[in-house]
Symmetry: C2
Subunit: 506 residues, 2 copies
């Protein structure tokens, strides 16, 4: 029943296999755009709800800003446009007409409109209107929206031309307050990634050449995928007064003087789902962390004899009623009875490929014995992955069991991350040699397996080119700096002070 490709044999193909087998998303007729199907969208809704609660608790209001940004807004912010200029969808006409019996664009716009790749410029324009006095500050908003970046090599969830995300935007009276906000939201990202998505992350600051266009500082959370590559899972930007100056976000401070505000922005996207897949899925398909699973418990009736249908159906309803008020993770449990017109074996494999955390198969023998066959997706194929227990015990245990699965998923990923940050490479020579040969799937003790390298960096201005030559990136400058000096792994320069994470990425 395994997927066509294993992780080890062909990781990129395996990824596509998982997305298809779990029925999470597919390519659409709209080039480079995806259709997010029910199981994928359900995961996204759960992620959204968990973030939303934290955004609210930290004082942010959800709003909605326009999809279209006048072209002139990009002209205003020189640094910003340099970073994005290459990849934007541009609306130039507002009408379809006919020419030679074929539809053609008509009515050219006076000013072309850019489909938002991100909304700093248009939101800054609103902020400029809203903010007059220090009493109006801080302004703390967030929006859930679609954005478009014209990717040339689209991949489902990871890099699509249209994707869904949230973007928080805030304005503050002081740099210190804005920086604190930037870090607070990074911490929200870390918390949700680790505790809801079971995605252990490294936190830190981006080097100069990896910053968001127009930002003073970009902070990030970085995760390790099962092939040892890094995935940027969320970013939080301190924008200083850059956008405030170009958009005119100024305010009268409490001494009567006019100042520019300090702004921030921060975002996570449907790419997180790609990260969850590449962290937790296995060679049989998806494995969804219970906290974000659209359904946490699947009840599959096993009807061998048509005469048993009513008894089995009633028994399953009973079990559902026994557990439906449970609250694993402090939220209402999500249960699905699968009554589709399909064999129970096919149903089991459907939910296995989708990665539903707990799949129960219930037949006449269970009805008679008051039992339930409980299968844990995470432990598929192991003896503990399959247990027959009394319905009472199941009802008593299931919430704890879901929480235990969540913890176990995090711990496994955390162990993988910790075991595969190499700190034994301390010279430029060894570093070059390692990345020249690092081409194997992550495996404990394999010195040629792709992994992260934590080591020194001199901050050399030519780093970007050197990194490109080695096909690697600096993921971040971790907050926990050692303070020691050593050889720059990238350039060989002595007395380099900065600790960074070097890694391959997608």
């Amino acid at each position: 029943m395994a997927l066509k490709n294993t992780r080890e044999a062909n990781y990129p193909e395996w990824y596509q296999n998982v997305v298809a087998a779990a029925d999470m998303a597919e390519n659409s007729a709209s080039p480079g755009c995806m259709v997010i199907k029910a199981w994928g969208y359900g995961i996204w809704e759960n992620i959204r709800n968990i973030f939303d609660e934290q955004f609210r608790e930290t004082g942010h209001d959800n709003c909605y800003f326009p999809l279209f940004i006048p072209l002139s807004f990009f002209q205003k912010e020189a640094d910003h446009v340099e970073g994005f200029a290459k990849e934007m969808a541009v609306v130039t006409h507002s009408r379809l007409g006919k020419a030679d019996g074929k539809l053609v664009p008509q009515s050219p716009l006076d000013e072309p409109l850019v489909v938002r790749p991100t909304s700093e410029t248009i939101i800054a324009d609103s902020f400029a209107k809203w903010i007059k006095s220090y009493r109006d500050l801080p302004v703390l908003v967030n929006q859930w929206a679609n954005v478009v970046r014209w990717e040339m090599r689209p991949r489902l969830f990871l890099r699509t031309r249209e994707f869904l995300w949230q973007e928080g935007h805030t304005a503050h009276a002081t740099a210190a307050e804005a920086e604190a906000e930037t870090k607070q939201m990074l911490e929200v990202y870390r918390d949700v990634a680790e505790n809801a998505l079971a995605l252990p992350v490294l936190v830190g600051r981006k080097p100069e050449h990896e910053k968001f266009p127009g930002a003073v500082d970009t902070y990030c959370i970085e995760a390790m995928m099962q092939d040892g590559k890094a995935l940027q899972a969320g970013t939080s930007h301190f924008l200083g007064q850059n956008f405030a100056k170009s958009a005119g976000i100024s305010f009268v401070n409490n001494e009567g003087k006019t100042e520019f505000a300090y702004t921030t922005s921060w975002g996570v996207s449907t790419r997180l789902i790609g990260g969850v897949i590449m962290t937790h899925a296995d060679d049989e398909g998806m494995v969804v962390p219970p906290r974000i699973a659209p359904y946490q418990v699947i009840l599959v009736p096993v009807i061998k004899n048509e005469a048993d249908r009513e008894a089995v159906t009633n028994y399953i309803e009973q079990i559902k009623n026994q557990i439906k008020s449970l609250t694993p993770f402090g939220e209402k449990i999500r249960i699905k009875i699968d009554n589709r017109n399909k064999s129970s074996v096919d149903k089991f494999w459907d939910w296995t490929r989708k990665g539903a955390p707990i799949i129960c198969e219930i037949g006449m023998r269970d009805v008679e014995g008051g039992k339930v066959m409980v299968k844990e997706r995470l432990k598929l194929g192991t003896p503990e992955g399959k247990q027959i227990m009394s319905a009472e015990q199941f009802a008593e245990d299931v919430a704890d069991r879901l929480e235990a699965v969540q913890k176990e998923m995090f711990n496994r990923a955390k162990t993988r991350l910790e075991n595969n940050i190499r700190t034994d490479i301390v010279t430029h020579e060894a570093f070059e040699k390692y990345f020249a040969n690092a081409n194997r799937f992550l495996k404990e003790g394999d010195s040629n397996a792709v992994a992260f390298v934590r080591g020194k960096w001199s901050g050399d201005p030519n780093s970007e080119e050197l990194l490109k030559a080695l096909k690697i990136t600096i993921r971040c400058i971790p907050f926990d700096q050692s303070g020691t000096k050593g050889e720059c792994l990238l350039t060989g320069a002595k007395d380099a002070e900065i600790d960074v994470i070097y890694a391959r990425t997608y």
Copy 2:
């Protein structure tokens, strides 16, 4: 403290005043697009959540389909494109470049992309891939998304170039099943409009010339605004096999024969918020039905003496704790303590203009007496609108009070609707005369007030032009037909059989 314009003096201006005073939305720098601010977006989120629950209960899954639709997809569906062709945003380039130092669109697309005005064509393309056999049916999906129609006279919430909506799309094996789905979702719309938005509606079918482009039948819910005009609040379309044929949604039925599927689509949008405003707001600002209010209870501290601050703050926290686990409407109560740096009078008027259902003002005298000053927004300015009561009584009553306000809002609007459907106009002559003179704000017993007219229609094919000449529309053919014959109000033809609702609209 009243708004600049009253409803009676200048209804369109009054509407803009309410939206601004309640801080719900504003025009943006992106022409014709709105910024939905926190209070407006919070209302939308509540509307979304209530619908979502009903969509789920009726078996629909949320998914997400692409923003962009290849131009050729519109070519396929001739009827459909005729209806929409005039008002679409078209993406023609995928890059910004520079010419003479100015940003310009570059990299023309091989095929232009239309920003979805609605998603029938692109979703039908997915359905064609998903559906092979009768076992795959029905397919029941919904998406929450932004759509774009190039409106030339934009008005906040009512008619903006970009708006938010949900669009349900389903495919079925038989016409009967698809028609039942169409009507089921219309009933969901009626239920939510009446019970959550306190918006009484008429339900019926659209006449031929008002149908959705490409539909066999369009059903609708229609509401009456305070100026006696009609607002279409939601539509549900039975699409027959039209989209199935152009997109190739076919399946092998249970006798082994290949057939085209029958599809439906149905949608409501942020326009509903415009309907809620025009139904419930008054000359002081917005009045939000409690069920969809972002905050249902506002607690405003009244600090006359800085020394009292702590006592008042603690007392308010206590009150919040006493009520925070209440569940009016079966949902967690939404409470806001307004601690902004503003006078309590200003705060009271802010929340009054926003239309928060219950506003409590609490000062030192209340702390000492164990009291609360409770103001009901709906009854602003009346003796019952303002009550001092014990904190215990308030906590005991508040959930019921919110539910009573909800009911009262619905009843008031229902009475207005029922009292202003004229059935006393039974001849073509009287009908023409009435609409020639109907120019006054809705007022009981005023024969020249704008109202709905329920009467006969012959179904004449020239009706559209005749209606235009009178500046009216047929809103719907109500489900409850009388079965009698009479003079067609529009043409004067005898023995007309169809009962319709004639009305002015926006």
